[in-house]
């Protein structure tokens, strides 16, 4: 392995134990995620190829997964990915205003990254947190009932 660290490989090996020995392909999603996390939040072709090699899969098996699921990014992203839920319940509770406010504040649109490389804005389909609409996912944390003040505080507190 040239691009994937030993530390990540250990985690991948652990994950593989959840599946039958001859079904390593099942691990491809999580292995890609672990590798993406260790690479600043995005994948590239070299990494995807290495994941395929690691699992003894044709490269296309890893590549098609890396381009199908929305949690994978194939271009450089900011330190923090901010997912705004814009589905129906969040929309009814003001997600459009919230999104516009943050777009203006950061000066970027969806799928763009601030010049300092800190934030990337992403549009999310339903995050299944409609009881706390509007909902926002940043890193591994859900924020619910988010308004202008709350998002200001959240963004200001991210280092």
């Amino acid at each position: 392995m040239f691009y994937i660290s030993n530390e990540i490989l250990l985690k991948c090996n652990e994950w593989l134990k959840r599946f039958p020995d001859d079904k390593k392909r099942s691990a491809v999603i999580e292995v890609l995620k672990l590798v993406q996390n260790s690479n600043g939040g995005y994948l590239n072709e070299e990494l995807i190829s290495e994941v395929a090699d690691y699992l003894n899969l044709p490269k296309i098996y890893a590549y098609e997964v890396a381009t199908f699921y929305s949690m994978f990014d194939n271009e450089k992203v900011g330190k923090y990915k901010i997912y705004f839920c814009v589905s129906i319940s969040c929309m009814l509770c003001g997600s459009d205003d919230l999104v516009n406010y943050v777009k203006n504040k950061l000066g970027i649109d969806f799928d763009e990254t601030t010049n300092d490389g800190k934030f990337t804005l992403k549009k999310a389909e339903c995050l299944a947190a409609c009881g706390g609409a509007p909902a926002v996912l940043i890193g591994e944390k859900y924020y619910e009932n988010v308004n202008f003040n709350i998002i200001d505080k959240i963004l200001d507190n991210l280092e």
Binding site: R18, R25, V28, S70, V86, Y142
Partner: protein
């Protein structure tokens, strides 16, 4: 009224997700009894049939009947799979089962393993659910350490190894066969049925798949009896259901209440409409279910049969409340975007149809619509229905057809005056 007594029975307790809390309310007693007495699986299935439990993920299929499709006597590897890929817009009930009552789900899945003779289970959780995943992992470790799952459970000779699996962002993986493809490490594209999962599921092996809420209901049903559960609700609509109420209400949230509760009572539980506005429309079962205007929904009860009779469906139990200020054109615009975005691309009618429906509605919203667009939309929607491998096609078409059916005047006005009523 009985609130939060089945899947949410740990909600009011301290550390609701911990093993000790679950044990303190009699949790795992049903499982332990099964391990000790090794009853005939048919008896368990009959009790579930009696309970009237229907699949809580959306389709409403009878759970007892589904469990009877795989015989314990059939040899070879079999699987129990839980669908925790919650993503139907408006639905957020399974997230709270995972976060606040994970052991009840584990117990329900273990019982399913016993009934069909499966020694391995997977709980497929959507990838964005970091917190529920954390809680579920901890619960599995606790259960394993207490030998409530694993090998030779409590010296019974019975094995059941349960693992979590994390998705990576795809609504389509909530479709049971797409979920299995994903579990096998592939793109989440649904399979042709038949063969059904009971014959050909994960890795081509017999598999029982249910929703999180369905499995989590099982321990309580077997503890208190099928009849108890049936009588909570109505005939053919047994038990409680979690309704996720969202939108323009004062207290959005999950309410686990008996099936058959009048809509108005559920709305009251959710604090009524925000800012004293009046009700315009409700989507009663997640965004795939046809919308119903206030005049219809106000008079019905919330159960599978009543909502179906009113022309919609109970679906996942996601009740989306829209007040009189809601622009139905923009609401449909957003829903159409969702399906265009989430279509897996496998079937042409859905891949092309969802995208064209969104483009047409987008044209209307941006002020360039024609009145003829409405018939065009209905025609595209009609031509998706029934022509795709999975239900996502119909799910995308039903909102379009129902919004136009009930709120056509609003769409016409938007097209003529380029604005909301």
């Amino acid at each position: 009224m009985l609130i939060n007594q089945v899947c949410y029975r740990t909600l009011g307790l301290k550390q609701p997700a911990s093993l000790s809390t679950y044990l303190s309310i009699g949790g795992y007693n049903v499982w332990k009894k099964i391990l000790l007495e090794k009853p005939n699986p048919v008896d368990i299935i009959n009790e579930i049939k009696l309970s009237g439990l229907r699949g809580r993920g959306g389709a409403g299929f009878l759970t007892g009947l589904k469990w009877s499709f795989i015989s314990k006597d059939v040899k070879g590897q079999k699987y129990v799979v839980c669908n925790s890929d919650e993503g139907e817009p408006g639905t957020f009930k399974d997230r709270d089962i995972l976060r606040y009552n994970p052991h009840q789900l584990i117990e329900g899945m273990a019982i399913a393993g016993y009934v069909i003779g499966a020694t391995v289970g997977y709980n497929y959780i959507r990838g964005e659910f970091y917190e529920p995943i954390f809680v579920m992992e901890k619960a599995l470790t606790e259960a394993l350490n207490a030998n409530l799952i694993g090998n030779n459970i409590l010296n019974s000779g019975i094995d059941f190894n349960l693992y979590n699996f994390y998705g990576a962002g795809a609504y389509i993986c909530g479709e049971e066969t797409a979920l299995m493809e994903s579990l096998e490490g592939k793109k989440g594209q649904p399979r042709f049925k038949p063969p059904f999962p009971a014959n050909y599921g994960v890795y081509g092996k017999p598999t029982n798949i249910n929703n999180t809420e369905t499995y989590a209901s099982i321990p309580v049903i077997l503890e208190k009896g099928g009849n108890w559960h049936l009588e909570l609700g109505k005939p053919n609509n047994g038990g409680c259901k979690i309704f996720s109420v969202s939108g323009h209400v004062n207290k959005p949230g999950n309410y686990e209440v008996p099936l058959g509760i009048p809509f108005k009572e559920l709305l009251n539980l959710a604090g009524g409409l925000k800012n004293n506005r009046s009700l315009k429309a409700v989507i009663p079962g997640g965004s795939s279910a046809p919308v119903l205007p206030a005049s219809i929904i106000n008079d019905i009860t919330m159960d599978y049969d009543s909502i179906a009779k009113a022309g919609s469906m109970l679906g996942s139990g996601a009740v989306i409340i829209m007040n009189d200020t809601t622009c139905m054109v923009k609401a449909l615009h957003r829903i159409a975007h969702f399906y265009a975005d989430e279509s897996c691309g496998q079937c042409t009618p859905c891949r092309e149809g969802t995208s064209w429906m969104y483009k047409i509605i987008n044209r209307i919203v941006s002020g360039h619509g024609n009145v003829s667009d409405l018939d065009l939309l209905d025609s595209v929607a009609y031509n998706i229905c029934g022509r795709t491998i999975c239900a996502l096609g119909d799910a995308a078409a039903m909102p379009v057809r129902s919004f136009i059916k009930y709120f056509r005047y609003e769409f016409e006005n938007y097209i003529e005056n380029n604005s909301h009523l």
